[in-house]
Symmetry: C2
Subunit: 687 residues, 2 copies
């Protein structure tokens, strides 16, 4: 879309303008007073507002107006917007609240507003937003007066909440990061994340983009726009709602995780750096505004300090964030031995002890190490002993560098100015330096992931029969996509079960076979280790009892018992917001008590699959309880198979293999559930 | 100890003083130049240093010197220190590095230094520290010049690292928090955490204490001192080393967690607020410097915002931190309905929409709610619409309040000054407000815990026999302390096993009985569900094979099979640093793959036990897979029993009950291991 009339208008009308201090319509006119185009207060009473002539309606302005900013009561919005349309206004911001966020009546009013805007071809920001700020072009379309002081700079903010947009812009400014554009989407009935992201991706004045995401209605549109933007410039994303309860992965084992985790995973998969809070977002933007690390699966960070204690804090935080702090080469260490006194720590982190004149050369040596892709430097400010600017200049030709220091605020302000001229940010605590460095590393890893992003998949057909499938059929389908399952027989009679035991040989597992019974062991309808006819009869008796109790027909599944091994869960779901998604985690009956599984949108790239497997608990990967190390390729293949099955049939709502047991002969699906989107099934019936 | 000569000396000598700019001995003299007592540079060459007469030795000063600061090469330290001793110096700081941190030679030199100091009765800070700062009394004993600008205030810092001490002091100052005393302990051969904590607990000028802990040598001494200090004023602690590998809980299931988790748990148990990083530490100090919430098991936080988006971030962060944000009473909500427009959110969080004149009264209403123990307020700065100072004044008589705002830096500086006069800190981002509020809530909960702290326990005796005990004996011991175990028979022969089956009735579990075999199922030496003589023989055959393979005698344990249920691990260990400690977590064979268990030092108070149980995963507590909700009292009793057993016999190195199965008849120890401190056993043999 063409955003010129919105973000860089020639004329602006403020509907609901007021001369009463404290009112939003007054603050808007005052805040916009530095606008160098034409500004028109609009108020039915006319008169003079903040020294400007007010017009009763937008239509009566009689001059070109690109943008109308509405601070009128919600019920008045449709009328004012229609008036704007007639006057040829191209874009509008509706600041007023009282729409969908306020209940059914508000939602109906919001639909009306949307329809009026569409009818008149007005692009709409909001409703329920504090607007946007464009310090580069001097447009401050917000009723919060302080925004007019926001410095221009390279960072764009796109926030779901108008309040958070301004909070982030102020935070950035306080850290010395200027703002290109800060947009609060509000209820986003027209202009959404994807529109603004596409605009910013093309905007040469935008160097780095920060996102604030609460809820998402079209997840794929968001992540595709993030991927497009991240290919051009860094994107940092904050997702709110960690503690919300969501719909994803309400599998037959219960709610495994919420949309928070899936949204974060999807944003990271698309190439965004995902952060935890506003401070982390601003620190990441500062780190990334200057220089990116080239795409790398796992970038190495060099850590150089003038005091060992902060160095330990930084290294600890980087390790905890999964960032590599690699050992230096023997050549680098030999050079450091020449440059440093013998008692200092000369690996990575490198601690110089109290800095001396060689500090810049030490920094250059660490930065030049082949394993080091970015350098983090922390040292207390010690005039005469430490020259941070010289240090930064010494590494400027090698890798990106981030610096933190401690000292009196005024002194650090000076250092920050010096480093700004070298396009290097100065942080003021070791932990914030470490978080910023994590963002730099995450961006490089995200770029690597994005370069290997899977192409979209098209479903091949529908699977749904009139009945849900039972475990036996589910395993057949999975086997067809490459997931092994134990040799087994679906038996309708006890006699058939006895034949199956003879054919398969013991030990076997005997289970109830009924699509409606998911938690078989909870109803005592599973027997393991069955070797003899007597034991089989006992097992069948138990299943018959369970079936009678449940009111289902007693059918059996007799299955060769798999070798022991660690157990995983591999699942797929069709998320209402993001569509097909898969999960991998520690499985078995304790799945709800295990650490959170890792999530990805499908289709999966090879890198996605590798990342998912690598996120399994390290004791499991290393070889758990005498098991050999996990065969990562085999587990990866199983995830890929589940994803492929989910993508192939678009009426599958959910696939769950739990457990996928890692035997010495490879991964085997010991239990499997496939559930369908029943509404899809009512329209069409397939095989 | 008497710290006057160290922290508030009358005369100071600087050994190793130098006139060469850039040298530590020069920076020390310059930094100390504002000291209003007598300052004596000491240098063998004499002459003039920074405009003061230098003395060849401390002895030659010929005037009273309380404190000597040594910036001399490490090998020179013992001699200079002896010289100080002869001159009657009471306290010394050894800034030089090159001692225990530098290897065996340094460690030997450190022992010499310690001995010299002891011989002369000199209290020693360091070696390997940048010293201390005492802005209140104008003593800046550090070679980092910027410290002389540190403002005096209420916060004391005690850091293991001299560099971190100064980094924290500068961070505090940058946030407007003045420093009472900042001490870097360095290698702490004499003055350690406990000494300084006891001093600060008594010091009327100290309002709040921040700790930075890397490693600890005497954990009990530290936590006892923290408990004493926290009874008087808030203590905030940062433990570094999240990613280190440690010794705690290297149980028979492997390394479950490291000393990082145990140290944090022990500090919190003693009454400290435990934070994650330096920024969090400073924010917590600011929050706690003004006012504490009275001791409360789970304080309720009211959240009031002028913009809903930041409110969501705050509420989300508080929820994630486990802080209660309780619903308001109907009376409070009714009053809010009168004060606010209809479309705002009037529960907790309370969002006013754009603030209006009623904002202070809204704040007072939320603060007065009986469920609210502290109030968090966030609003963008909107002159004319919002008066933060009036808001704070409106709640000053009710509960502690923390405020955050967004706006131009200069404006926020003004607001911060206004609020400072009301003893309320202003934060500048919603996430930092939430973290500070968590600290306030944690302090109240810690005070509640501390008020219920268990009295120290004295061991009653030793248990160790010449051999480790087997599972049967371990269960006998546990049963004696109150942990139920299944009915069982220890059998030395197959015939005895058959008698046991008859006596107990099936199904039984049959296991190898050998103290040396810990992972019985890994060697196929366990059979469950044994009901018949044939099945028993098959089980005994398997055990005989396993015993032969392991080269141990084939003995058996035949045990009545327990009813199904969720499984926990309850363990106890004697940590080398902290002594007796217990853990509780999700158990069973997947224990290494479960979320981290929760740890506490023993003895345990009732509150400790309640906290441990409450930290179990909520799906488990609520009733897992058809199980009833966990009987918290019964699980708590089992933890208490394990702790009691561990405390009773001081030669028990480790107790582990895994799994403790939660059956409908109560918790039952299905497996149990007790291991001994073998070195203790060599001295004494008991029953």
């Amino acid at each position: 879309m063409h955003f010129g009339p919105l973000f860089h208008p020639r004329g602006i009308a403020v509907a609901g303008a007021s001369d009463s201090p404290g009112k939003a319509g007054n603050a808007l006119v005052r805040t916009l007073s530095s606008f160098d185009g034409d500004l028109y207060p609009v108020n039915p009473a006319g008169g003079t507002i903040a020294g400007r002539q007010a017009y009763p309606t937008v239509a009566e302005i009689g001059a070109p107006v690109d943008l109308a900013v509405l601070a009128v009561p919600p019920r008045a919005v449709p009328g004012v917007l229609a008036d704007c349309g007639k006057a040829g206004v191209a874009a509008a911001i509706v600041c007023s609240g009282g729409f969908a966020e306020a209940g059914p009546d508000g939602a109906a009013l919001q639909d009306t507003v949307t329809a009026v805007a569409r009818e008149h071809g007005i692009r709409l920001l909001g409703p329920n937003t504090s607007g946007f700020v464009n310090p580069v072009d001097g447009v401050f379309a917000s009723f919060v007066p302080g925004v007019a002081d926001l410095p221009a700079g390279p960072a764009a903010i796109v926030a779901q909440s108008g309040g958070v947009n301004l909070a982030l812009c102020f935070l950035a400014a306080a850290e010395g990061l200027g703002v290109r554009l800060g947009v609060g989407l509000g209820n986003a009935v027209d202009i959404g994340f994807a529109d603004v992201l596409d605009y910013l991706a093309d905007d040469d004045k935008t160097t780095v983009i920060g996102l604030h995401v609460e809820g998402v209605s079209d997840g794929r549109r968001l992540v595709d726009a993030v991927a497009r933007a991240a290919a051009r410039k860094p994107v940092v994303a904050l997702k709110v709602g960690r503690t919300g309860v969501g719909d994803f992965a309400r599998s037959h084992t219960g709610a495994i995780t919420g949309p928070y985790a899936l949204t974060r995973a999807a944003l990271a998969q698309a190439g965004a750096v995902v952060v935890d809070d506003p401070t982390g977002l601003v620190d990441a933007l500062r780190a990334l505004a200057a220089r990116r690390v080239p795409p790398t699966a796992r970038p190495g960070v060099g850590v150089l300090t003038g005091q060992a204690g902060p160095g330990l804090i930084i290294a600890d935080a980087l390790h905890a964030a999964g960032v590599s702090v690699p050992a230096l080469t023997p050549a680098s260490r030999a050079r450091l031995r020449e440059l440093l006194p013998p008692l200092t720590y000369q690996d990575n982190p490198v601690d110089t002890g109290r800095p001396a004149g060689t500090f810049p050369e030490v920094a250059a040596t660490v930065a030049a190490d082949p394993g080091v892709d970015a350098l983090a430097v922390y040292a207390l400010d010690e005039p005469g002993a430490l020259d941070l600017a010289a240090t930064v200049r010494a590494v400027a030709d090698t890798v990106p560098v981030l610096v933190a220091s401690g000292g009196p605020a005024a002194t650090l302000d000076e250092r920050q100015s010096e480093l700004s001229e070298l396009s290097v940010p100065l942080f003021r605590s070791p932990d914030r330096l470490a978080r910023a460095m994590s963002a730099l590393a995450d961006d490089a890893a995200a770029a690597h992931r994005r370069a290997h992003r899977a192409a979209p998949a098209r479903p091949a057909g529908r699977l749904l029969g009139p009945e849900p499938v039972d475990e036996h059929r589910a395993k057949e389908l999975l086997t067809g996509f490459g997931v092994a399952a134990p040799a087994r027989r679906a038996c309708d009679t006890r006699a058939a079960a006895h034949q199956a035991l003879t054919a398969l040989g013991g030990p076997v597992v005997v289970k109830i076979r009924a699509a409606s019974v998911i938690h078989k062991s909870d109803v005592d309808a599973v027997r393991t280790g069955v070797r003899t006819a007597d034991a089989l009869d006992a097992a069948l008796d138990a299943i018959d009892r369970a079936a009678a109790g449940l009111g289902v027909e007693a059918r059996y599944l007799v299955e060769r018992q798999a070798a022991p091994g660690p157990e995983l869960i591999v699942g797929g779901t069709r998320d209402p917001v993001f569509g097909p998604a898969v999960l991998l985690g520690v499985g078995g009956v304790g799945v709800e008590l295990a650490p959170d599984p890792v999530l990805r949108l499908a289709p999966l790239s090879d890198v996605d699959i590798q990342d998912m497997v690598a996120a399994l608990p390290s004791p499991l990967l290393a070889g758990y309880r005498g098991a050999p190390p996990v065969d990562r390729a085999a587990v990866g293949a199983a995830i890929g198979s589940v994803a492929a099955l989910l993508l192939h049939y678009d009426d599958i709502a959910e696939v769950e293999v739990n457990p996928l047991r890692l035997t010495r002969d490879g991964p085997v699906a010991l239990d499997a559930v496939i559930m369908f989107d029943r509404s899809a099934g009512e329209e069409e019936v397939g095989s």
